[in-house]
Amino acid sequence: MTNMLHENSGGIKSIISGVGAGVEGAYVQFFSSTARVNKWLWLGIAGVQGGFNRTVEFDIATGPGGGEVDDYSDCYFFHTGRQSQNTMNFFWPINIPAGSRVAIRCKDNDAAAIAYVIPNVTLTNVSMPFGDPVSRLLLPQKTVISGASAGVDGAIVEVIASLPVKLDYLMIHWTQLSAVNNSIGNWDLMTGAAGLEVDRLGEMAHSRNQSPTRKESSVPWCGPVALDAGERISLRAKTDVNVALSMLFQAIGLEYPAQ
């Protein structure tokens, strides 16, 4: 099994559309030099300002500053115009070599320069499995509570003490239960014994906007993983607000034949 490694861009960053509808903004660097060949990308993006019906297309590029080449161009995202909104998550196959500089830019249909926030970009060396799954595992539903201060991780919550099978692909959806508007943050998938957990996939982006009086839609996440049978799985989360927020997580894992 592949040793699952990942790297995060780290920290909330904004990309800003150009002045004028359809005008590209400047590239914003997310990785100065990637550590390894990466095969999969997770990217969450959300709008942060008012306005309605903004169509946004962003480019994911590699190359030196001023010499960026778009690997994926015109990735489409729609901003409903709320002050913020649930993160739109992209989980895509990508194939970029070690040492790559990764930068992202965007354009939209607004005449003004508009900021969109990317809480994190995560890259991993694990690629998409092929074939038909040989087993499926519904993991226990868990409530994860973020830290009470901005940027502080909450308590680690055990999802399962020991995986009965290896998992090659994971699908998670979560919803925020607490009544707080406009929070952005990250969650970590961890393995290891209690007290000795380490990030296996860290800093997955999430955000929330909703009226405190409304329930929020669940947000999907999926992608390849490399988790061995017998591993202990846990989760933790943090946000950018000084309130402990409850989030409900549900995961389904798939095991594939040896690749």
Binding site: F52, N53, D71, Y72, Y76, F78, N89, P93, N95, K215
Partner: protein
Amino acid sequence: MSNYLNEASPVVSVTSGLAPNVFGAFALLIASTARTSGWLWIFYHGIGAFLNLGGSQIKLNIATGPAGLEVVKICNIGQSISSGSILPGGYWQGYSIPWTFGAGLRLSCQVTDENTTFAAPYRVKIRLWEKPFP
């Protein structure tokens, strides 16, 4: 460029049928796919202030074939809008689907919703990746 080969449709406008649960006309996504693909990403959303529906299920079909002879290949890709979603602007969902499309195919889409009795506007964009990912 080291990335996996991929191709994307433009952002396509499509409208639902004139009655609840009736699909609207097909809208062209890609006139002829460039290569065999193994992974499909779909992003679609509604637009405008018609969203005060009190809850609605929306479904999307992806079809192949020439205009007038479309055959639905992926059907009823759904999303829902809650009664609270009254703000103008829309709602959206993105999907990743492992699916094999051959090269040279014409791809189109159509949309239905369960509430509107008019041609409600939606936008769709898809992206296809080569197969397999090494």
